[in-house]
């Protein structure tokens, strides 16, 4: 009984620690991309999608994390804002 209880608490502790680490990792990832200046080096390490527009190319990248909308929808928004 005691052993089972200790095991249960160990599992709970592992889950809590994992969740805390995940949240902390996400916060760290965000802070790396949300500093005062453009995080050029961090940006350059991200996978990019190139969007050709008249007279230039937009290199679009996503910082770690999810959006409700698909990446294709977000890229469409960038294309629409840049113009035909």
């Amino acid at each position: 009984m005691k052993a089972a209880s200790a095991f249960r608490w160990t599992v709970v502790a592992v889950i809590v620690t994992t969740l805390a680490s995940a949240i902390s990792f996400r916060a760290d990832a965000q802070s790396e991309y949300m500093r005062d200046r453009m995080p050029y080096d961090a940006f350059d390490r991200l996978p990019k999608t190139d969007i050709e527009v008249p007279g230039g190319i937009i290199h679009a990248a996503f910082a770690p994390g999810d959006f409700m909308l698909s990446r294709e929808k977000l890229l469409d928004w960038i294309r629409m804002s840049a113009g035909p």
């Binding site: 965000q30 991309y33 949300m34 200046r37 453009m38 995080p39 050029y40 940006f43 991200l46 527009v53 008249p54 007279g55 230039g56 190319i57 937009i58 290199h59 679009a60 990248a61 996503f62 910082a63 770690p64 994390g65 999810d66 959006f67 409700m68 909308l69 929808k73 977000l74 928004w77 960038i78 629409m80 804002s81 840049a82 113009g83 035909p84």
Partner: protein, 243 residues
């Protein structure tokens, strides 16, 4: 953007979307010191409709079309972005002229000088920086069009800056930017207007300006008067460019 400027302002743009809490865009920032770059903190729960109505992305892209300047002239950079973004979106068919003139009539008074104002160059308040700058751009657009029989406007002047190599990856003085823009349209409107509005407070008669443009406020709505003296200029500002 490309409709207004005729081309994208920079050859290469880094654009970073950062997921943040919520369902809206939390501002945006543009840099040029290591190559043109825009960062947009975008709410994870943002909707397609929200993005369609968004103004931030175009606003930040407009910044890439102007050389970097000392902070005291941020009113030109922000004012241009506030003024050009809606005009560009009407030209592209994303907004109506009625919507943007209505918004200008509502918001432009926020850019008027308040007590203690020392001109656009020396007053760093939010209202003067964003809407004072936008007012400068509107007045410049109208004056250029008056001086060129409505053939050319601010759009042609700013295309001239871009054609001369002036984008956000360059550091230029405000004098050089305005002189280059003036040269593109063959008049000295921008330099002259800056000499007037930069060092001291200037309060344009907005009520008379709206009347001359043929804009009448009817409750929350507006009505166009195409017989007004500057109605043709009002129409030309939002007309898609021929080239």
């Amino acid at each position: 953007m490309t409709t207004y400027y005729g081309r994208f302002p920079v050859n290469s743009l880094r654009l970073l979307l950062v997921p943040v809490d919520g369902g809206r865009i939390r501002g945006g920032t543009t840099w040029g010191y290591r190559g043109a770059a825009i960062r947009i903190p975008l709410g994870r729960d943002s909707s397609e409709d929200g993005l369609r109505r968004d103004w931030v992305m175009v606003h930040e892209m407009v910044h890439t079309a102007l050389p970097d300047m000392p902070d005291r002239y941020a009113w030109l950079s922000e004012g241009l972005a506030v003024y050009v973004e809606p005009v560009a979106r009407v030209q592209a068919g994303d907004l109506t002229a009625r919507e943007i003139w209505q918004a200008m009539m509502r918001d432009m008074p926020k850019g008027l000088p308040q007590a203690g104002d020392q001109g656009l160059d020396n007053t760093g308040t939010w209202g003067r920086k964003y809407w004072g700058g936008a007012m400068f751009c509107l007045l410049a657009d109208i004056e250029i069009r008056k001086a060129t029989d409505n053939r050319l406007g601010l759009q042609d002047a700013m295309r001239g800056v871009l054609a001369a190599g002036g984008n956000h990856e360059q550091d230029w003085s405000i004098e050089r930017i305005l002189a280059t823009a003036d040269k593109a349209v063959g008049v000295d409107v921008l330099t002259r207007l800056h000499n007037e509005m930069g060092p001291k407070p200037v309060t344009p008669d907005l009520a008379a300006l709206w009347r001359n443009l043929g804009l009448k406020r009817i409750g929350e709505d507006i009505e166009f008067d195409d017989t007004a003296p500057l109605a043709a200029i009002r129409k030309a500002i939002t007309a898609p460019p021929a080239r």
